[in-house]
């Protein structure tokens, strides 16, 4: 991660934005193709997640200028959402339990 000390006028080459823009288009086409080609199962989920995280990363890093912020700021903003992983784990275990009960008693 690079840090520039004179953050006041953030001047980045416009070509970088065009490259990221193009890359986002390509990645979006790829994620659409995942559906269009009717990939199923593990391959589908892996591809969806890979393209999703690449797109999200590019937007946050370049378009939202996170690569040019100081680490203290980046960590303060980007680490709290990790809590959501705990919520996902809790809800997933709860949901599979509910699903099991529905299959047993109403299925």
């Amino acid at each position: 991660m690079q840090n520039n000390t004179d953050t006041q006028p953030q001047q980045h080459p416009i070509s970088l934005y065009f490259k990221v823009w193009g890359l986002l288009f390509v990645l979006s086409s790829f994620s659409y193709l995942v559906d269009y080609m009717q990939y199923q199962g593990l391959l589908r989920w892996t591809l969806i997640l890979v393209f999703m995280f690449l797109k999200a990363g590019l937007i946050v890093a370049v378009f939202m200028h996170m690569v040019w912020e100081r680490i203290a700021f980046t960590l303060a903003i980007l680490s709290p959402p990790l809590c959501i992983l705990v919520l996902i784990a809790l809800m997933a275990s709860e949901a599979s339990y509910t699903n099991l009960n529905r299959l047993i008693f109403f299925g």
Partner: protein
């Protein structure tokens, strides 16, 4: 947290120094930008709760989930194309993110007319997006999709769909208003003295809206 540049070290040493300096921890970051990021962080949690809620109802139901590829398919010129409307909406939103990034760049180059025009173009793409979403909602409502049930499968589909895309659509609509207001102020020259960081802050909100769509597209439409 004023805008005077403070002496700073980079890397991990910088991280420690920033937090133990007994003053503001975020060096050289203005209040406006910090607060926008903190707002976006809170918004991240709101959308995460919706998406996790969607995950829960989709996992609990023993009725098959509607096939989104087919639900959102359109027939254009006799061709049946799966999920095409959502793909177009995705591209419109990415295009708007690009024009927004250009606007931020122009703002920092102090080309205020170009910045304002690019922001208005961004807002226009936002309006297109909301328009297509309104079309999509109308189509689904006509097909009998309701928050409590639908003819295609699991009844929870409608609730998740209207809640998640509706909340995102509201964000886009608010973003369009916000962009238009700031663009007109930029055009009028209100920020000539204070500088054009406001364009970047507005841009943060807009890119966030695009960011949320990336996750909705992946989890709701493609999964």
């Amino acid at each position: 947290m004023d805008n005077t540049t403070q002496p700073t070290t980079s890397g991990m040493t910088g991280l420690i120094e920033d937090w133990v300096s007994d003053k503001d921890a975020f060096k050289n970051v203005s209040w406006g930008k910090t607060m926008m990021w903190i707002f976006l962080l809170s918004d991240t949690f709101i959308f995460s709760c919706f998406l996790v809620g969607y995950m829960s109802v989709r996992m609990t139901t023993d009725v098959p989930w509607p096939n989104t590829s087919e639900v959102f398919a359109l027939t254009i010129a006799g061709e049946h194309i799966p999920l095409i409307l959502i793909a177009i909406m995705t591209f419109v939103l990415i295009t708007s993110s690009g024009t927004m990034a250009m606007a931020v760049n122009c703002g920092y180059r102090r080309q205020r007319k170009q910045a304002a025009v690019l922001m208005l173009v961004t807002a226009f793409f936002g309006v297109c997006f909301v328009g297509m979403q309104a079309f999509e909602w109308t189509k689904l409502i006509e097909e009998g999709v309701r928050p409590w049930g639908n003819p295609m499968g699991a009844p929870q589909f409608g609730a998740a769909f209207f809640m998640i895309t509706g909340f995102h659509g509201v964000h886009v609509s608010i973003g369009v208003i916000y962009l238009t207001v700031v663009a007109l102020k930029v055009l009028r020259g209100d920020y000539e003295e204070r500088g054009y960081e406001i364009v970047e802050i507005t841009g943060l909100y807009w890119h966030f809206v695009d960011l949320v769509w990336v996750f909705i597209f992946a989890f709701f439409y493609l999964w």
